[in-house]
Symmetry: C2
């Protein structure tokens, strides 16, 4: 189907998926670019519609699309839907995954708990680190950016589609961790113990907060153990995705050895 007007009601509805509110209301989200959309598809995320800009190089990808209706959009319509200054040849509209605790693997060995991460680039980079290190699950906790934010998707380089991921409030996250018998390790600059001195050889969850504020006090209190990443230079913090990677890879190292 061809849509030329940027004021078409379908185009309006798709353009609203650029906002968090629109994603929550419609339970849909956008994936811009053929490579990114292929990753979402490969991870089993269900497509609802394919939006193609036929005049654009690469649009022939559209011929291979399946599982959802294909719409050919005019430049004006594509520009209204896209988040980017230069819209891609293809945008996929996908069903928003439920992101429930009940869908996470039952016996995780390493879990990342991302607490109140508001910056999309930071959450995306944390997901990339978690996926690379083989984390079994990620909990996105509290007042945080939603994982279907376009900049989370981009920074995660596709990890956001493949990783088992739950979006939960603080209490539900801590109850789930306790039920699963996971040791809760909190990253805290003031902790006495360096992370590689901790015993991480059993099932462990690593709680990491935002770079500027760190973890809220109730997470520090709830933790079985607080660990510190040594800061040996003049900068006073690491990027949250670097902190997450250091902890998760140390967990992987110790668990492989055990």
């Amino acid at each position: 189907m061809r849509i030329t007007s940027a004021r078409n009601p379908k185009v309006k509805a798709w353009s609203e998926l650029k906002t968090r509110r629109g994603r929550l209301e419609q339970d849909r989200f956008l994936v811009e670019g053929a490579r990114e959309a292929a990753r979402a598809l490969a991870a089993g995320i269900r497509p609802c519609a394919w939006l193609v800009w036929p005049e654009r190089a690469g649009a022939e990808e559209a011929a291979r699309l399946a599982g959802a209706p294909v719409y050919e959009l005019s430049e004006a319509a594509m520009r209204r839907v896209s988040y980017r200054e230069n819209p891609p040849a293809l945008i996929g509209v996908f069903e928003r995954p439920a992101r429930r605790l009940a869908d996470l693997p039952p016996d995780p060995r390493r879990v990342l708990v991302a607490v109140e991460i508001e910056k999309p680039g930071n959450l995306g980079a944390m997901l990339r680190s978690a996926d690379a290190s083989g984390a079994d699950a990620v909990l996105v906790v509290g007042d945080a950016v939603d994982p279907e934010n376009p900049n989370v998707i981009r920074a995660s380089t596709g990890a956001v589609f493949a990783l088992p991921l739950a979006v939960v409030d603080h209490a539900a996250a801590r109850a789930w961790l306790q039920e699963r018998g996971l040791q809760l390790v909190a990253a805290a600059p003031a902790a006495g113990r360096v992370y590689w001195e901790a015993d991480l050889s059993g099932p462990t969850a690593f709680a990491v907060g935002a770079e500027d504020r760190g973890l809220p006090p109730d997470w520090l209190e709830a933790a079985d153990l607080a660990v510190r990443i040594p800061m040996e230079g003049t900068v006073d913090s690491l990027n949250a995705s670097v902190s997450a990677a250091l902890l998760l890879y140390e967990g992987l190292r110790q668990q492989r050895r055990a």
Copy 2:
């Protein structure tokens, strides 16, 4: 001194410092923002001029500036010099450090070799990781962004000022590493050995390439050892600053224990 015209020759010269070419020709660079400029000053980088936008909140910082003439710029002039859409109240013009091998510490224990890193955000983030891990020096090698690029400065959160840093070609870098008796460890996805299985307890240099291309073949050949960071998920690479942090912190762990 007050400068109102954006066409003033001084303003023109400062605005040229936004380009690599301008920085090389004038041997100066810009630091935008009072906090960032304070970091450069604290690290002993020499100021040549302070550019202040008096109408802007925070401009009273100017009263505390020393060591260089203070210029009050009009909004139009400030906008011409600044790299940002919203120029800050203060821009410092500094002398470009020489960045020579001869100025590095004589007996380094951990060195990061950043090979052909072209993206400013990536190099800056690598410097932040290197500084946090207590690296003694960083070599910026080959066809790379210059460390005084504004986005390197921003992403490094000040590490670029504090870290001993040399900008060198491939041959000079390798000769220096050999002279210092540093074990050269190359990060390579295809290596058989996992990084934590390598003996990093002696003086070690870690060579890390760009995320998409990795290290050039001659660096892999020159290395004493190639190591791999396990990739356990679906993404096929880590951010270069994450790779650098994993290697440098494993070096720190082993060297503390030794």
